[in-house]
């Protein structure tokens, strides 16, 4: 049989992988602009100054860590080259310094020479510099920084000034995300003798404290809504020390550390940061539901948690937890996601043209990142400090479930842990409701999930061990079978469960080579029973993944990896062949002939990929790649070449003065081939046709990203998906014959106007225009795909009002769902054996229901106590109770119809305590 079963939600998913970050600190020029860091930063401020270094987020890092840059303690003046002095020549030398764990300079290389003897002089002097070494999580590490050494001639004609007796501290305050000035912040400096001076930052974020006696000072910067800065600085007589502090907006939930993202290997990656994940109205604080507010994602029908990306079917999009595929992402098909939001660090969403690292699907990719355990210590009122080794806890209760999370240091040195669990409450209220309705409830609907994470950071990498899983169960006996299909009665049970054990390692093998390795093993079980129909899967997915990341030369990086999947399985099925979208109604399930399959085996799907990251200039990034997949079940190999590119038409820095930021304009585009193996039943010898080929899609996309302000960015992207080789089927004497004659296309335009999160606000307006068409056979007429949504407009925002209050709203207006009408005149035939009518269907998906629109609001309130925090939220979905149209319902003989309304006004209330 084919193991596509394990690639599909509902038939189980078995692929598992994980990613993690490296652990080196790399420096950038002291006077270069900082990396643009999207999203809500929970990490402390990064100091910058004339003699300071700025930590550039490691390009390979993806996970949060606390990195403190090296700071110059002792400056050694270089000898001015005599020839240059005589000629009146001045110059700047850019050096790259390697600073060891003790703060000594062990290597100094000239990056930008100035000639005239400046290079040698600067290099020699720099080797005598002394630094306060860089640290990661409090531990000294080796770091590289770039240092610009300026040679300036003294005015010999002027009379020598009196020797200065004082110095000066001055600088600018910026908001870490968005780089906006921070006004009104309090800057307090404490002299060696304990004397303090206070100043507030101006409107442009600048501040200045002159006439300071030389010595080491303590500088504290505080502003409401931001994590404070507390750092040591030195005042040198006769010098003005210019400093730039970037303050991070204060995290409101558990502290979240966010590092810069590595440059994308995809055309478009949309990243939702933690505050956005938890605060989007109408999602109940559920992170994965937040995705449905992004461009390119269609609204699923009803309460389903389907991910419909760029006009593709839900099964065409794969969801990973830290790079690892899981068989289901929502409890009970859409209630809430299987990993609580509190354990998520971020969600990366790739709507198309994704990296060669990902395969086996032709829609989109959702990669959910689990957070690293937080052991950062808090001061009073939960102000984060630089100390680590502390415990944190969380307890949340809402109408759906109760969750608990504990994290802190783990016994062995350098280990940290997080342990979470959740159990639903829905059985408490749904069981009586079902019994009142006449059902016998054998096992009330209940779900639970659990997560254990243990992390260890090393000097050159990170090791993470994880164990997580989920379980849903539901058993009832329906004594009133559905009159339109009496087979849907009697025993109905649904059970889905999975767990994963994972070990992830990321190691820096050398300066130019990193190795990422992941191994996971788990178990997936799916059980469905409905009358005489049975569907059971029991599988043990084993998934090794590995990727080498090699910096071949300046501007050229090669990522090469493997992605293997080995799945011992047992499957037991007794079902009629299910109808496919667009097919005529096959009649009631009750009387259709069942097919049976009971077999075990081992599915094997290896894949290899290689991808380049070529940056010939700082503005241009080219990402060619290719992936080779093989599926033993279908005996087919698939080669998928891909190419993505980004070019900064206007770079985010000024070429003349890189400290001056500019409004970035980026054009981007990509083209790539994506293969998706057939589904389980399509290649199974009983249910389908063995050896059919994979579905294939060619993604084309081109777009532009334009920074309007430091806080606001507009992105527009057009896309086209050419679908071919799609699996189609045709009825034959003994069932259905499958082949690859289906075609189709999706064309659309996405736009996103986003206000990046700052200390007060985040929000966006997303609009998608699209059309998704399918054709089953060459001679058939094309028809609109089941999930086609022409227009999808979402506007949302969340604002911190102060005093712990936050208010958010989301408004959506979206094209209505498509339905297949019944024929006029004689609309149905009576299927005598089932005692039920079956419709005579018209053109598939040829009618559209009314436009959907809805307003959701969310209010959060936080009470901060000295040692803990209490918060509450109210999330109201469909505030004005719009009766959305979800589907058409018919009477018993399809002569009367009405519209199935959507969800009414639904309040969701919860409370949370945390320390």
């Amino acid at each position: 049989m084919g193991f596509q079963a394990f690639q599909r939600r509902g038939f189980g998913r078995w692929l598992l992988a994980l990613t993690m970050s490296s652990a080196i600190a790399v420096a950038q020029p002291a006077d270069a602009p900082p990396e643009e860091e999207p999203g809500d930063r929970g990490e402390g401020a990064v100091p910058r100054g004339g003699s300071g270094a700025v930590v550039k987020r490691p390009p390979t890092a993806k996970k949060a860590r606390q990195i403190k840059p090296p700071r110059l303690l002792e400056f050694k003046a270089a000898k001015y080259p005599s020839g240059a002095e005589a000629a009146g020549v001045q110059g700047n030398v850019l050096l790259e310094l390697t600073i060891d764990k003790d703060g000594g300079v062990i290597k100094s290389e000239v990056v930008e020479p100035a000639g005239h003897g400046f290079d040698e002089a600067a290099r020699a002097a720099s080797l005598d510099f002394r630094f306060d070494p860089a640290t990661m999580d409090g531990k000294p590490i080796v770091a590289k920084i770039r240092y610009r050494y300026a040679f300036t001639l003294q005015e010999v004609e002027a009379p020598p000034p009196p020797p200065p007796s004082t110095g000066e501290l001055a600088g600018r305050l910026r908001i870490l995300s968005g780089d906006a000035p921070l006004a009104g912040a309090e800057v307090v400096i404490t002299a060696p003798d304990g004397a303090t001076r206070v100043v507030r930052s101006e409107a442009d974020g600048s501040w200045r404290l002159p006439d300071l006696p030389p010595g080491k000072y303590r500088v504290r910067v505080a502003a409401e809504g931001f994590a404070p800065v507390d750092i040591g600085e030195e005042v040198v007589a006769g010098e003005a020390t210019e400093l730039v502090y970037r303050l991070a907006p204060e995290a409101t939930g558990l502290e979240v550390l966010i590092e810069a993202e590595r440059p994308p290997r995809e055309v478009t990656r949309r990243t939702l940061q933690r505050r956005e994940l938890a605060r989007i109205p109408g999602t109940g604080g559920d992170a994965l539901r937040a995705l449905q507010s992004l461009p390119g994602v269609a609204r699923p029908p009803g309460i389903f948690g389907l991910l419909i990306v760029r006009g593709s079917a839900p099964e065409d999009t794969e969801t990973f937890i830290d790079g690892a595929s899981v068989p289901l992402i929502f409890h009970f098909g859409g209630l809430t996601s299987v990993v609580p939001t509190e354990l998520l660090d971020r969600i990366d969403f790739y709507p198309g043209n994704f990296s060669a690292k990902y395969g086996r699907v032709m829609g989109g990719i959702v990669d959910v990142g689990l957070k690293s355990p937080n052991t950062r210590c808090n001061a009073d009122y939960m102000k984060p400090t630089d100390e680590t080794g502390c415990f944190h806890g969380l307890l949340q209760v809402d109408l759906i479930d109760t969750r608990i999370l504990v994290q802190g240091p783990l016994g062995p040195k350098d280990w940290t842990f997080a342990a979470g669990g959740r159990r639903s409450w829905i059985d408490v209220w749904l069981k009586p409701a079902l019994e009142e309705a006449g059902a016998t409830v054998t096992s009330a609907p209940v779900y639970y999930d659990y997560q254990l994470i243990a992390d260890k950071r090393t000097d050159d990498g990170r090791l993470s061990v994880r164990f997580y899983g989920s379980d849903d169960e539901f058993k009832i006996i329906v004594n009133d079978p559905f009159s339109q299909d009496p087979g849907f009665g009697g025993n109905i049970s649904l059970g889905t469960s999975f767990f994963r054990g994972q070990v992830v390692s990321e190691t820096t093998l050398s300066e130019d080579l990193e190795l990422y390795t992941m191994f996971s093993v788990g178990r997936d079980k799916v059980g469905l029973s409905l009358g005489t129909f049975v569907f059971e899967i029991d599988a043990t997915p084993i998934n090794p993944r590995s990727e080498f990341r090699w910096k071949a030369s300046e501007g050229v990086k090669i990522n090469a990896g493997l992605d293997f999947l080995l799945v011992p399985f047992n499957v037991l099925v007794r079902l009629p062949p299910p109808p496919r979208p667009g097919e005529a109604s096959p009649g009631p399930f009750t009387t259709r002939p069942t097919l049976e399959q009971d077999e075990g085996g081992v599915a094997f799907r290896p894949a290899w990929y290689v991808e380049g990251e070529v940056t010939p200039t700082r503005r241009l990034r080219l990402v060619p790649g290719a992936r080779l997949d093989y599926a033993r079940d279908s005996s087919h190999g698939d080669f998928s070449p891909r190419f993505n590119a980004r070019y900064d038409v206007i770079a985010p820095w000024d070429a003349e003065d890189e400290t001056k930021p500019r409004k970035r304009t980026t054009v981007k585009g990509g083209v790539g081939v994506f293969h998706q193996p057939p589904q389980f039943q399509e290649t199974d010898e009983v249910f389908g046709t063995p050896n059919i080929k994979s579905n294939r899609a060619i993604h084309y996309s081109v777009g532009v990203e334009q920074e309007i302000t430091r806080q606001i960015e507009l992105g527009v992207e057009g896309f086209y998906k050419d679908l071919n080789q799609l699996v189609s089927r045709e009825a034959e004497d003994s069932g259905f014959a499958y082949d690859n004659r289906g075609t189709g296309h999706v064309v659309g335009l996405e736009s996103l106007l986003k206000y990046k999160p700052d200390n007060r606000f985040f929000g966006w307006i997303a609009y998608t225009l699209s059309r998704s068409v399918r054709k089953d056979f060459a001679d058939d007429d094309p028809y609109l795909f089941q999930y086609d949504q022409t227009h999808n407009l979402t506007a949302l925002g969340s604002y911190r009002l102060g005093r712990g209050w936050e208010f958010g709203a989301r408004f959506r207006i979206i094209s209505g769902p498509l339905v297949t009408p019944v024929l006029p005149g004689l609309a149905s035939l009576y299927a005598a054996e089932a005692a039920a009518y079956t419709p005579l269907s018209g053109e598939p998906f040829s009618e559209r229901l009314d436009t959907f629109h809805s307003l959701d609001i969310r209010v959060d309130k936080r009470w901060q106590f000295k040692a803990w925090r209490l918060s509450a939220f109210l999330d109201l979905q469909n505030v004005y109770n719009n009766p959305a149209q979800e589907a058409v319902l018919y009477n018993y003989n399809f002569t009367q119809q009405t519209v199935q309304g959507g969800l009414p006004l639904i309040p969701s209330i919860g409370m949370r305590g945390e320390f």
Binding site: R9, G10, G302, I303, F304, F332, G334, L430, L434, A437, A439, I476, I477, N479, D480, P481, F482, S483, P486, G489, G490, N491, L494, T496, V526, S529, G531, V534, L572, R574, P577, T590, T591, R592, L595, E596, Q597, D598, E685, A731, D733, S734, G735, F736, L823, L826, L829, Y830, A831, A832, E833, A835, Y837, L840, S841, N891, Y892, N893, T895, T898
Partner: protein, 344 residues
């Protein structure tokens, strides 16, 4: 998992009362076909199958002249789906020469029909279905028309039914006056199945004399004799005409538990026995039946003693009928008709 999700959502939404309110299927106010009974639900190749239709005309202007027609001749259609048969019939219209019709087509008229299963119905399949007992399928189509039955005009649709019902003004009649449908007959070499066994009917916990059971209901005229309340069913009219405020009157057929057979078509479930899935459909031409369909036997949990339902009396005194049809999921059916005297 779409199926699983559908089940969960459908069950939840339906059972907690969010389903729309249409007229109940059990309320017979027009021409209706309730069931087709085969003398042998699982015939063998070469067998002749005798079929009987249970129908009723609940229209306000009933009794009317009702034409019942049958035609067979569709064996092993593509996908074993009725739609494959309709595609075969798509070329048939009023101009078709009967001589051009396939030889296998057999036609009939009236509430009973017989046709013969081809002896090679199983072996003629190009590829015997894997994962299931070898079987053949035969479709028999029927139409009940309270008007003139004729070949349907070509509407250009592949899946439209080839017959139509016309009124006195030659207009095509709708679902109140015309019922079209099909019966799917599974043919096995060895498997057998029997129709459920109904022996009587209970109202308010008391066994009453039914009007008829099984084929007699289809072939015998309704007796024009007064209802004897000592042995037959009599209820008191309810001014609220079957509304929830009316007293609930428990009703149920008497069904032999041996009706529930093992579903022997299943071959691989070695550690468990699947039984037939069975249910009872209730119909009444007056008053109101609380549940259209009740579970009779579950494949896993077995017999459901609570397969009865409640009836609420109409406001108008007179004679009315209640039908109960027991089905199994393998094509078996049996029924009982009860005449009820509604007293003032």
């Amino acid at each position: 998992m779409l199926l699983g999700r559908s089940v969960v959502v459908a069950v939840t939404v339906t059972l907690v009362g969010c389903a729309p309110s249409f007229d109940s299927q059990s309320k017979v106010q027009e021409l209706r076909v309730f069931a087709i009974q085969k003398d042998n639900p699982y015939p063998k190749p070469g067998d002749t199958v005798d079929m009987t239709m249970l129908w009723a005309d609940g229209a306000p202007n009933a009794p009317r002249d009702v034409v019942i027609a049958w035609f067979s001749g569709c064996f092993n259609p593509p996908g074993d789906l009725f739609t494959g048969c309709l595609e075969q019939f798509a070329g048939i219209d009023a101009t078709t020469d009967p001589a051009d019709l396939p030889d296998t087509i057999e036609v009939g008229e009236g509430p009973q029909f017989s046709f013969t299963i081809p002896s090679d119905i199983i072996t003629r399949k190009d590829r015997l279905a894997e994962g299931a007992q070898p079987f053949g399928t035969a479709f028999v189509f029927f139409a009940a028309c309270a008007g003139r039955l004729d070949v349907a005009p070509d509407d250009g649709e592949d899946l439209s039914f080839p017959l139509a019902c016309f009124g006195p003004d030659e207009s095509m009649l709708g679902a109140d006056d015309f019922v079209a449908g099909y019966s799917q007959v599974f043919v096995y070499d060895e498997l057998t199945n029997a129709n459920p066994i109904l022996t009587g009917f209970e109202i308010n916990g008391r066994e009453v004399q039914p009007d008829c059971i099984g084929t007699n209901c289809a072939i015998q005229p309704i007796p024009d004799v007064p209802v004897d309340c000592d042995v037959m069913a009599c209820v008191k009219a309810c001014p609220d005409d079957g509304a929830k405020s009316c007293p609930d009157i428990p009703i149920k057929p008497i069904i032999d538990r041996s009706s529930a057979e093992l579903d022997t078509a299943t071959t691989f479930l070695e550690d468990r026995e699947l039984q037939e899935q069975m249910w009872v459909n209730y119909y009444a031409d007056s008053g109101r039946v609380e549940g259209d369909v009740r579970l009779l036997n579950d494949a896993l949990t077995g017999w459901n003693e609570d397969f009865g339902t409640n009836f609420r009396a109409p406001s108008e005194p007179g004679v009315m009928f209640i039908w109960a049809v027991a089905h199994d999921n393998r094509g078996g059916a049996e029924w009982v008709r009860v005449r009820v005297q509604v007293n003032p």
